[in-house]
Amino acid sequence: MPAISFQHVGKTYGNARGALKALDDVSFDIQPGEFFGLLGPNGAGKTTLISILAGLARASSGKVTVLGHDVVSDYAQARRSLGIVPQELVFDPFFSVREALRIQSGYFGVRSDKRANDAWIDELLANLGLSDKADANMRQLSGGMKRRVLVAQALVHRPPVIVLDEPTAGVDVELRQTLWQFVARLNKEGHTVLLTTHYLEEAEALCGRIAMLKQGKVVALDRTSSLLAGTASTMLRFKMDTALPASLVGQSRVTGRIVQITAHDAHEVETILGVLRTAGCQPEDLEIGRADLEDVFLEIMNEPPRASQPARAVA
């Protein structure tokens, strides 16, 4: 039985100006124990899909289950199996960290075993570096600390399936390290993890399988290693102060002084270098490496849409 199953999920938002199709026939399963990445540009439908999974939104069509429990007809069991870390940095200003965690666990019916629950709350606080903030009011915490509390709130009822919706957006390196170590440990202990992130190096490092969404459709679904292997495998990186020749602009990614150009083989590398030489450009710190997930992502996202476009691979 899959940990999470999306079957032909569609979502259409209607307003006065017409209908907006946020999700279009999305289908895939996530198996128990997987660390699964859901990627896509802003507006691709990732958060809508997670909102449907969490019960924050209702699908216009299709079916979603968590460990076999339908998120609509058997919502209580489905939600009890899920721990969601929301994207927005939200908190209840009336309560301390410990009160917030106790209340959240109570919603899930785990207050009855108070001693065991308090021990788990202490463990969560320690693992997320929050022990010294346990009695602080939520308003007194920094943004990073509030983010840690959101993670603790998602885990307080010991859910077998954890959903992290862009958990590291705008947080410092220390929290990222702490968070990923903790989540990786939970995954090793058997928890299923579904992650959405814009930090593709995180997805590449952590996720065994990845789905990519574009305009509400699944456009790629495969093991991370297969996605990396199945694309342009060479990346030319260098620094340059002058403008790129016009013929290279379309295939380049420029971040400040750093230029990255995809090349499919050695001959194409030579051609690019030739164009640069002819234009009088002087690239510095030139290196040739393997394409990473960001390159794969950009390549897939830049492919023109086709009618009934199939996912690149279905594993």
């Binding site: 924050l56 939104a57 209580a76 069991q77 939600r79 009890r80 209840d92 009160e99 207050r111």
Partner: protein, 257 residues
């Protein structure tokens, strides 16, 4: 579904809602008690020697139960409406939305907390005003029944308003243009029996009148309307508002897209 889990989830939400208002009790309990004392002092001072109600009841004695019930109703409404709109606007409603709580759990917890706040404020107003006029307790059961029904109805109405509103102004408008006039024109400060026939008829269309009148009957054993009639109107209004509230919660009106 395990009944113990349901109870624990509902109980936790009730506890959280009570704790929420209790943490700011200066604003949520002390302030309305002070307002009621001011009303009693000012209106009592101006009218005590000029008005006798129900034949022999002194004006300050008559005013006291009305102020208690008005405080109960306004604070029961404020509790559920302000809690829900704050959670919606700050986004922390997500903690409840992802929890395995049924629409009944939401309803019972929010309305329960509104009843608790209404009772605490009502008791506070009574304790604070008891020194200004002798207390009559002719029919305590009626006091309890109308107090509970009124607080429950306003708690449910607050929940409806909180679900409907998308910003604080809308809740303020609901409170200032609907709740406040209906409570002020319900006979808190006067006996509806003393009004001209037209305004008496208008007052009889206001369900708040029956809540105040029935509640006051419990204190003096006399009222403008028969208490059974008032109970019928209040009970019917309560059922209608609760039915609407439970339905809106069930369909996730403006909280689940």
């Amino acid at each position: 579904m395990n009944p113990a889990n349901v109870l624990s989830g509902t109980g936790t939400l009730l506890y959280k809602e009570v704790l929420r208002f209790w943490k700011v009790a200066f604003q949520t309990v002390a302030a309305p008690v002070l307002t009621a004392i001011l009303y009693l002092l000012i209106f009592g001072h101006v009218l005590e020697d000029h008005v006798k109600v129900f034949g022999s009841v002194a004006y300050t004695s008559f005013l006291m139960p009305g102020l208690v019930m008005m405080s109960v109703l306004q604070n029961a409404f404020a509790n559920s409406s302000s809690s829900l709109i704050q959670s919606k606007i700050t986004g922390n409603l997500v903690f409840l939305l992802v929890a395995p709580l049924s629409h009944w759990a939401w309803f019972l917890a929010y309305v329960g907390a509104s009843i608790v706040r209404g009772a605490v404020v009502g008791a506070g107003v009574m304790l604070a005003t008891i020194w200004f006029a002798p207390l009559h307790l002719a029919q305590p059961l009626w006091i309890l029944v109308f107090g509970l029904a009124g607080a429950a109805m306003m708690g449910a109405l607050g929940l409806v308003a909180g679900l409907w509103a998308e910003k604080f102004d809308q809740i303020a408008a609901f409170q200032n243009f609907i709740i406040m006039p209906m409570t002020f024109l319900s006979g808190v400060f006067y006996s509806v029996g003393s009004l001209p026939p037209f305004w008496k008829g208008v007052s009889h269309l206001n369900p708040f009148f029956y809540m105040i009148d029935g509640f006051r009957y419990g204190f003096f054993g006399v009222s403008d309307m028969a208490p059974a009639t008032s109970l019928l109107v209040v009970g019917t209004s309560l059922l209608l508002v609760c039915g609407l509230c439970v339905h809106l919660l069930k369909i996730g009106y403006k909280i689940r897209h």
